[in-house]
Amino acid sequence: MNVLIVEDEKSLALEIADFLKSHNFLCDLAFNGMDASEKIAINLYDFVLLDLGLPDYNGLDLIKEAQKNNSEASFIIITARGAIEDKVKGLDLGADDYLAKPFALTELLSRINAVARRKFKITNPDVTLGDFVVQVQSRKLICKGTEVELTKKEYDLLQYLVLNYNKVLTRQQLYEHIWGNMLDDQYDSNFIDVHIKNLRKKLNSHAPTPWLETVRGVGYRISIEEDK
């Protein structure tokens, strides 16, 4: 998929590009509004990651321009301004999602995936984890033919780990994904540990879960062997 990253903070743009490339995206960069405007007019993108705080351009205008050009691109706004009106305006203009800086790269990926699922009607394949099968589409976890009852939070945790399989997710990344930024101050590593503990307990009563790993000092990871 093609992504245009519109971000005047060069090093941030490069990091995002790095990350997305490692997830098989094709990335293009624009460090200012003029450049972005040209690129959107010429090229076809699936996604535009748009920083609203551009020095030469009102980011929201780019969305309007793209719509005039019948661009198919989905816009995900990333901004440090974070003013509530910006968010509302952006979404009103047809942006698909909104992320406040600083965000976790894994969160960005998860949002892009969510938009892609809606847009391209991708049916996510089921993921097999030992004796368990995660039915991503129907949000169900099946173990040897029976459904495992999970709370919404537990399922969200599991799915986020599955989406980022073979990568360590820090407690903070997991926390932000599940609880968002509203309760920022209450970020508590303990929260995630407790939920993972409960999740493990539930799963282990059905079958062993060697694939759900605790990475000491860092966070959690789901390992899937890539051979299939």
Partner: protein
């Protein structure tokens, strides 16, 4: 006491005092004038009698042998004249008040005693005038005067009060302007209508003061917002770099841990900046208050969220929520955040095994949410710092920045919710939120 009341009271008292003194003085003066009038009358009468005697002699009144006294009075006993033979050591010429018995009736008279000699015989002439009619007249005068005074006092009192009211109306208006505002930005800048220069000065000074405060507030908020944005961008860069590093497969455990620690520190910075931003945004009214929702539902949601943590820490999260409030014109996610912060804080600060109780009470016209724990409690000095932004309670125990309660307070203020805390060391802490009941 209100200025208006004070003025009215002073007004009334001074008028009454004046009236009292006036009445005393007037009755004294009238009495004196009346007496002098009578005395003059009596002296005139005496002259008439004396001139009569010198004309016709004493004999028609008193014969030398038969009787010693002569007396005459009119039918209403208003006046009398009496003449008698006496033996006196010295001459008598005086006026006094005396009681005389006339036909078995005791009457008070103003009496002139006058002695004179005819042919070595001393005679005493008494001319008297009844005081009754004079007292009566005096009483009438006094009554009329009293009525008149009462009338005048009431009239002037009423006019004074209404004039005072009129005069003080601008002050009242200024007072109302001050009463209404929770924020200097909302101060009504339209000048109060008045011709009193003092009030004009007061009003304009207040308006100016409010504007100054408001500008300072705005500046402070702007600075907070700008700094926050400036800070968030580099945090964002650092965070992405560190997260990308962490994704590399060739890292050894030690480096992984160090990166994670850096991310944690960075996260603390991010949290702090975001918290300040949140407070600045709430204070500059960037959040809407237009949702209606059940407070009990919010609390139940919070309890559901926190319960796994509480269970893990062997803390019983109890609820007594028989009453509910449909909170109108509020921001649900902010209220959620406020109550969440406090409940979570209670759970965090309660050693296991312990108990946290969430209660909703509706009593009369107030609805309150109470969150009490069996935790460590606080000293008075800790309590006083509870809601301030950076004075953290002891050393930071959890991962929070200690700003959570400051956020809760800001949200409460934004919604006009009263917050109070009672706490004693080793006895636990109790937070109460008193919600305004809006119709």
């Amino acid at each position: 006491m209100k200025l208006k009341l004070k003025l009215a009271l002073f007004n009334l008292l001074s008028k009454l005092a004046f009236a009292g003194i006036f009445m005393l003085l007037m009755s004294f003066i009238i009495q004196r004038i009346n007496l002098r009038q009578i005395d003059n009358d009596l002296v005139n009468k005496r002259e008439q009698v004396i001139s009569l005697i010198s004309e016709i002699g004493i004999e028609p009144f008193i014969t030398s042998d038969s009787s010693d006294a002569f007396g005459s009075y009119d039918i209403l006993k208003e006046e009398f004249v009496s003449l008698e033979k006496v033996s006196l050591a010295e001459d008598l010429n005086q006026i006094e008040v005396a009681t005389r018995l006339i036909e078995g009736e005791e009457i008070e008279y103003r009496v002139l005693n006058y002695s004179f000699k005819i042919d070595e015989q001393t005679y005493l002439l008494e001319v008297g005038k009844s005081l009754h009619s004079i007292f009566h007249a005096e009483k009438n005068t006094r009554n009329v005067m009293l009525l008149f005074l009462i009338f005048i006092i009431s009239i002037t009192f009423l006019t004074d009060i209404s004039y005072n009211n009129l005069l003080l109306r601008p002050l009242e208006a200024i007072k109302n302007k001050l009463k209404k505002i929770p924020d200097p930005a909302l101060f009504d800048k339209t000048p109060v209508k008045t011709t009193t220069s003092d009030f004009q000065r007061l009003d304009s000074a207040l308006t100016e003061l409010m504007e100054n405060i408001n500008t300072l507030f705005k500046k402070e908020k702007e600075i907070t917002v700008n700094i926050s944005h400036e800070l968030l961008t580099p945090v964002s860069v650092l965070r992405s770099k560190l997260e990308n590093l962490l994704l590399r497969v060739d890292l050894d455990q030690d480096i992984e841990n160090k990166i994670e620690e850096s991310l944690k520190t960075l996260h603390r910075l991010q949290t702090l900046v975001n918290s300040l931003l949140l407070i600045a945004r709430i204070e500059s009214h960037q959040y809407l208050r237009e949702e209606n929702f059940s407070v009990r539902e919010v609390l139940q949601e919070i309890i559901k969220e926190i319960n796994p943590i509480a269970e893990d820490a062997v803390i019983i999260l109890k609820q007594e929520m028989n009453d509910d409030l449909l909170f109108k014109g509020a921001n649900r996610s902010l209220i959620f955040s406020m109550l969440y912060n406090v409940v979570n804080n209670a759970v965090k600060n309660t050693p296991s095994p312990g108990e946290v109780l969430v209660k909703c009470i509706k009593s009369g016209s107030s609805f309150s949410v109470m969150i009490s724990d069996t935790g460590k409690g606080m000293t008075e000095s800790q309590k006083s710092k509870l809601f301030s932004r950076f004075k953290m309670r002891e050393k930071n125990s959890g991962d929070g920045t200690g700003i959570g309660l400051a956020i809760a307070k800001t949200i409460a203020d934004f919604h006009k919710i009263e917050v109070s805390v009672t706490s004693a060391p080793e006895k636990g802490t109790n937070f109460s939120f008193i919600f305004p009941i809006n119709s």
